[in-house]
């Protein structure tokens, strides 16, 4: 695979995410196991990072730590110059609301709300008035070619449409970092490609940093950077240690 295939990150961009020696233990007593063994990485603005690895490699756990949803056992997560471990629960919620966007495998839209309403919930949480939030939410839907579907409830949308609405929700508050957990895992190849293109565009055109957990080798290669985990350790990082990756067994 040639490096030139990858969309290049904007030059001179600043570091947005920095993880230092992250460790995460789960369970207690005899069931206690270490999921992440001291992971360090940094991600710049505009980078599209694919996080790969087999089941149980710790990639989802790393994603939740980078998204301030989970708390590390040891180590530090710096997001945009703020150490997440120093924030209390409410401050982390506010940080997620204002600076982060999440996309999950199973779309996870709230079933009682229309597409537009799902998108404006994070906007309204910031204190924006409903009508203003709706204007903005509608813009976001239009950017993703979803404006026709704004009044539909999730039950009336296809899987691909639902996933695109959930991406709209993730970007509604103009986040610096978008975290996606197997966003294409539940979609057919056409819709998966569409979702990948959206992420690609968000990174290259809008300068967002994206961390996407994926099982799809093709998408992983086409991201601007691929980080591979195994047993809670980074075994390959195409940005920082491309030469190491050659030496590791696949």
């Amino acid at each position: 695979m040639a490096r030139s295939d990858r969309p290049e990150a904007p030059t001179g961009s600043r570091t947005l995410v920095e993880a230092r020696d992250l460790r995460r233990d789960l369970g207690t007593g005899d069931a206690r196991q270490t999921i992440l063994h001291g992971v360090s990485l940094s991600i710049d603005e505009g980078e599209f990072v694919a996080l790969t690895g087999s089941s149980g490699s710790g990639k989802s756990t790393l994603l939740y730590l980078l998204g301030a949803l989970d708390r590390q056992t040891d180590g530090e997560v710096w997001l945009d110059g703020v150490e997440m471990g120093a924030l209390d629960d409410d401050d982390r919620a506010q940080f997620r609301n204002e600076r982060l966007g999440f996309v999950f495998q199973f779309h996870f839209l709230l079933p009682e709300f229309t597409a537009l309403e799902n998108v404006i919930l994070p906007i309204m949480r910031r204190g924006t008035a409903r009508s203003e939030a709706e204007d903005h939410g509608y813009e976001v839907l239009r950017m993703l070619d979803l404006e026709e579907l704004y009044h539909r409830k999730p039950g009336e949308l296809s899987g691909g449409q639902q996933q695109r609405v959930s991406i709209a929700r993730a970007v509604a508050n103009d986040p610096a970092l978008i975290l996606a957990d197997e966003p294409t895992g539940n979609l057919d190849s056409k819709n998966a490609e569409g979702v990948f293109q959206i992420f690609s565009r968000l990174a290259s055109e809008h300068g967002r940093a994206i961390v996407m957990v994926t099982h799809d080798g093709d998408f992983a290669r086409r991201a601007s950077r691929q980080i591979r985990l195994k047993d809670g350790r980074i075994i390959e990082d195409t940005a920082q240690h491309p030469e190491q990756a050659v030496n590791e067994p696949a």
Binding site: A93, R96, E112, M124, R125, A129, R169, N173, D181, E182
Partner: protein
Amino acid sequence: MKVALAPHRTTVFIALRQLWERKLLNGIAVGGVTLGVLVLIAMNGIVKGFEDKFTETILKISPHVILFDTELRPGEPFLQRYMGTLVAAHVAHESPSERQSRVKRPYEIVRALHSVPEVEAAAPSLAGMALLDFGGKTKSVDLRGIDVAAQDAVTPIHQYVKAGRLADLDTNSDGIVLGAGLAGDLGLHVGDTVHAASAGGKPRDLKVVAIFEVEVPPVDKTRGYTTLRTAQALLGRPDTIGRIEIRLHDSDSAFRVSDEVERLFGYDCESWKESNANFLAIFAMQDMVVSFVIGAILLVGGFGILAVQIMIVLQKQRDIAILRSVGLRRADILRIFLMQGVIIALVGGVVGDVLGKVALHFLALVPVKAEGLVKADTFLIHEEAAIYVTGVVFALVVGVTASLIPAIRGSRVEPVEVLRGQIG
């Protein structure tokens, strides 16, 4: 203010929408609360209605305060009066004197009572037991010797006269006015002459001049009125006033005025609340039982909310995880579920109020045959605005309490645990 309230718009929005989207389930929870409030209003209406009626009947024929002929502060012992403080000899048990007790200078007390601001009317009378004999039947009578006009101002007997005229007592020196129940038992009618006797006085024949019915069976079956002079002669207590009955402007002040009069005149006084303490105690007990039943039903309503909300919280783990990931705080989640419980309770309370009002309307039409303490043809209903407020307040307390546990549970959902479970 705007800044402080703005983020709550999201929680209000979510709470209301989710409620609206599961109408059936919430309807069941609302139904539980509605039932509780309905029972609260209906039971309270019936029980209080009966108690009100009882109090009202008691008050229409009973004086508010009775001053008895028992002196509270008997004079100091003879020796002490003359020799100063020290008393060397003390008689442990004085044999009861033959002299019967009486209210001394009763008319001065009555005059003085009329100048007490709370007092509406006061009447001196003499009460005693006598036997009535007619047609081979003998009945005891709770005989009251009264000053007709004065007594009627204290206990308006003339309102309840069914046959004859109360005023005829004044013109008929040997007249008697009887309760309908007593007259019926003896087979007496107005114009009949009945033989009366007592332990101390001279027996004499009395002419029935009127029959009254206050619809309080214990009174109707035992009470008889004669003039004061007739009663004094019949009971063998000439010139004696045994009690002064008092009517107040406000019956609720009876307790206080009773103490006041006692202090002023030195005679034992009793308010109507003390005279009817046994009934009022039964009412207190009844109120307690009713409160217990109402409480139990409201509790069941609370469990309805609890069950529905617990179920929703368990079902909505995923949605909670999503909301938390887009930046809602634990407190926001708590608020959403709490708000839903409160709204369910509020709707239940208001619907319960409306149905309760309708229920009271129809209960008042239900025929019942009651002849115990009071006579009634239908349920006696008490209705007051406060009970509707109480209904809603109780519903709210139940709602908040019942939704607290699910709400706390919901707020404790860890988004990562839910997401991790989803991905497997």
